[in-house]
Point group: C2
């Protein structure tokens, strides 16, 4: 056929089959329940955002990956267009943090104070297609806006670790650091202020290339050996605990703004083992997190058995000010929804307590009054919480039942027309 349509999804996106969807729905329900217990309120922003907001340098590398939406009607001037942004007036959001900041700026008179937001939604990034990475994927963020104190960080960590516990995870690690400590370490070591962003990009490779590798790259980037050695010593010698935070605070002296180390120590005290969940808190002075908008504590959750981080977040007190002209304290934690689904699928996870499934097979030519009776019977079972499928009896009933068994049907009832 000349006009046959395209069966595959668009490049890099995927169709979600019922078995995976059942797990996704279960995780979403659990997310909503656990986070509601912490007072987070579910909200939603549009998938489409102003191109001006998306391209405002709040999204770092993600801005290069925007799906841009074309102007429409008279506003679209193809002949006169010089560059992409002449043609586009909007784009698909690449994260949930920028839209949340816009949302807060737009709606704050109607919102609670502090505002604890839960968002679950699709975001879009035009990355090169590769196994396990998709261009449309779900993010799940909690944010606390308007609380400048570390109670925000503590609530975020406790909520996220409680959720992971409910989903059956244990023995994981919450790594924590503070952007202000990162900065103080760099300055104390002797790096120039304007060299710091580059230093952090190199430091961020610690996981992959180790302390010595970081040292070599720093030297290759033009940092003096003495400064580099002093810098690396922080990572070699500092204890990865609340104790290490104090230790580092003493080393860095008044380069660290007042209260920063006490703040981190307090977060340690009210999370981790103290919260009763099975995980550990670790102070990690090498933790950077890519986004430029972080201003205070930053955190990441690692599960060694799965080889990558499953959640991350931090404080970003400056972003909402980009919309309102006035800074508002804000802090967020995002779980890697897709990563968690992949892990659960790989583990062969089964959703607890699925309903019992019965199939009614109805022969062709059933008299109308009897058909009405069958429908009533189905209704009664359904009102008891059971799943009932009513469908036409196939010629090959054995094959039909095998097929239905694969979809989870455990009992069958045959209805003949006489």
């Amino acid at each position: 056929m000349a006009d046959k349509l395209i069966k595959k999804p668009t490049t890099g996106m995927k169709d979600i089959l019922p078995a995976e969807m059942e797990i996704r729905d279960y995780v979403e329900r659990t997310v909503c329940e656990v986070y509601a217990g912490f007072g987070f309120e579910h909200i939603e922003t549009p998938v489409v955002e102003h191109i001006e907001n998306l391209c405002s340098d709040q999204g770092g590398e993600n801005e290069k990956l925007i799906f841009k939406v074309m102007k429409r009607g008279e506003k679209l001037d193809i002949a006169g267009a010089k560059n992409e942004n002449d043609l586009a007036d909007s784009g698909l959001r690449y994260d949930l943090t920028l839209p949340l900041s816009r949302y807060y700026a737009n709606n704050n008179p109607s919102l609670a104070m502090p505002f604890k937001a839960l968002q679950i939604g699709n975001v879009f990034r035009a990355e090169r297609p590769q196994k396990g990475r998709f261009r449309q994927f779900k993010q799940c963020d909690i944010d606390i806006i308007g609380d400048p104190s570390d109670l925000a960080e503590i609530e975020l960590v406790n909520a996220t670790t409680t959720l992971l516990g409910k989903l059956g995870f244990s023995g994981f690690k919450v790594r924590i650091n503070d952007r202000r400590l990162l900065r103080a370490m760099g300055l104390c070591a002797g790096f120039e202020e304007d060299k710091l962003p580059e230093v952090f990009i190199i430091l961020d490779k610690m996981d992959k290339i180790g302390v010595e590798g970081v040292g070599e790259e720093l030297k290759a980037a033009g940092c003096g050996s003495e400064a580099v050695e002093k810098y690396l010593d922080y990572f070699r010698k500092i204890d990865r605990s609340a104790q290490g935070v104090r230790q580092l605070g003493e080393l860095l002296g008044d380069r660290v703004p007042e209260g920063v180390t006490e703040n981190l120590a307090e977060i340690f005290a009210a999370t981790g083992d103290n919260s009763g969940a099975d995980y550990v808190m670790e102070f990690d002075p090498t933790l950077v997190r890519g986004m430029g908008y972080y201003t205070g504590p930053i955190f990441e959750i690692e599960m060694e058995e799965f080889g990558s981080s499953v959640a991350g977040g931090g404080r970003y007190d400056g972003m909402i000010g980009r919309f309102t002209g006035q800074d508002v304290p804000a802090c967020g934690f995002s779980i890697g929804f897709e990563r968690i689904i992949t892990i659960l699928l790989d583990k062969g996870f089964k959703v607890p307590s699925s309903p019992e499934k019965t199939a009614f097979l109805v022969e062709k030519g059933m008299p109308a009054d009897r058909l009405a009776g069958i429908m009533k019977e189905a209704r009664d079972l359904r009102s008891e919480g059971k799943t009932v499928l009513v469908t036409r009896m196939a010629k090959n009933r054995k094959f039909q039942k095998e097929n239905l068994e694969r979809s989870g049907y455990t009992s069958f009832k045959d209805y003949y027309n006489k």
Copy 2:
């Protein structure tokens, strides 16, 4: 500030506030529960579709309203572009029916047979902004693919009416007709085959302009008076019940394909009063439904008190063949999710059984060990299903509590640092 960002959502789209979101979540949970009871399996397709599929003339008027997504990187040739589709490779879906057909064509070896799909997702239409109509809105569709029998229609009607009942609606009307009857009436009246699409567009205005108005417009469109009178008589004289279906069948004789009237009568017998829910089935020979892809029974649910239809659907046996080259029977019913939310909001609907909400107000300077104890107390209450907010005690505690009461907090606990 020169670079202040834009606070409002993009034109025609909206931010969803917590109070509305609570109702939306409740409706979604109810949809999932009720439809799962009928054996519908939840699935998801990407929001972004191939531009070729979207512009394939399966979407009728909606195709003009597509948000087109620009090509990226080397593929985008602005200087060489002559028209829109040189610049776009994809677009945002405008409904869930076309993506479902693609999904089925792509995945059918892995799907149950018949396949009963539930989709809940956002669709996008660049309509002129107007009150109550949004450019991003949620649709909620159930479809049965692979069942050629009227059991599919019966299950769809029973599932949808059960859902509406669970959401507290009663006394509504399910209007039903069949595209093949529509065609037969037109031909029997004496209209030319190729005049029929135009006739149906006029007939579809019956609600607004009445029988005589339809007659005048048909004559103005060049239809002969005799044919028009014969045609209008069907709508004047036919009883709006299962009885009317048989009556019309006799009048139209062998212009109606075999089995069509029996099929409709059977749907009547197994739905409506017989299903126990509080609604009526009505045969409506004037029901047209806009989409060109319908091939058999069509239906729409009307609530007189709310002045518009809240659900609609029908059989579309030809669409999947556009992807596979082979026709597959298919039938769907879509509830107007946004319409239902608006009605519930207007009715002042309250979500049943929200958890009890307590706020812990913690004074600044709380010693770390006592803070850990407060967090444990919060954890215990949360594990009993309560909502606990832990937040910094404000200077103006009275104002803070009033604010929290507005967010549904009914009890408070103050923690002083000494």
